[in-house]
């Protein structure tokens, strides 16, 4: 259940599996841009580690190549990331928001959406 912390490269690979479905190591590797593409064995090692963490598993073989599938859910993994960051801010979202704004990546639409989501969440809570 408790998904272990995923490293940057591990996460990049998980994203590929979440987006493209089940893939072989080679296919995962070739998803990386030609320039700056890690060696096959780098991807291999990392996928094996993900396997050790229970984040992916082999579902079948094509030829002698194993096909891997994501076991960990995207939302779980991403929530974990944000939670980890938040803990560095003592659980306060406010400074995180400030920096998101500063970075210029937060749009007014994002905010509107967030507000709507938050109101809805509050309602659900109230009814419960």
């Amino acid at each position: 259940m408790t998904l272990p912390r995923l490293s940057k490269l591990e996460l990049r690979i998980m994203r590929i599996l979440w987006k493209q479905g089940d893939l072989s190591i080679r296919e995962v590797q070739e998803t990386f841009p030609r320039r700056n593409r890690p060696a096959y064995t780098t991807i291999q090692t990392t996928i094996y580690r993900l396997e050790g963490k229970g984040a992916v598993e082999r579902i079948r073989k094509i030829g002698n190549a194993h096909i891997f599938t994501a076991v960990a859910s995207r939302s779980e993994a991403e929530r974990r990331l944000v939670d980890d960051l938040l803990s560095l801010f003592d659980g306060h979202s406010q400074p995180v928001m400030s920096y998101l704004i500063e970075s210029g990546s937060l749009t007014l639409d994002d905010i509107k959406e967030a507000e709507a989501a938050l109101r809805k969440a509050a309602e659900r809570k109230a009814r419960k």
Copy 2:
């Protein structure tokens, strides 16, 4: 200028210096809760590493103890953290916001504040 990435413990120590001002290693160590307090030398090693990264420096001595001061700014270090997280989301704030909301740490006031800040930033940009 370019503050290197700070680890979790390094960041905890920086926070202490930002908040409490200039301190000796012993003082930093004693700021940690009795339960779960790292050894003196653990803090020492970490502060030396921070020094190596240029994030802190010695400003004076009291007895034979060095007093350290934060060189890196809090905002710079925190912005770096958020930027790093954001890069894991391909630069999109929206999913980050969603998780902040899910975590229950984001209040409507936080949103209002963020919106105001964002509008102000937009204005500044427009004038420029």
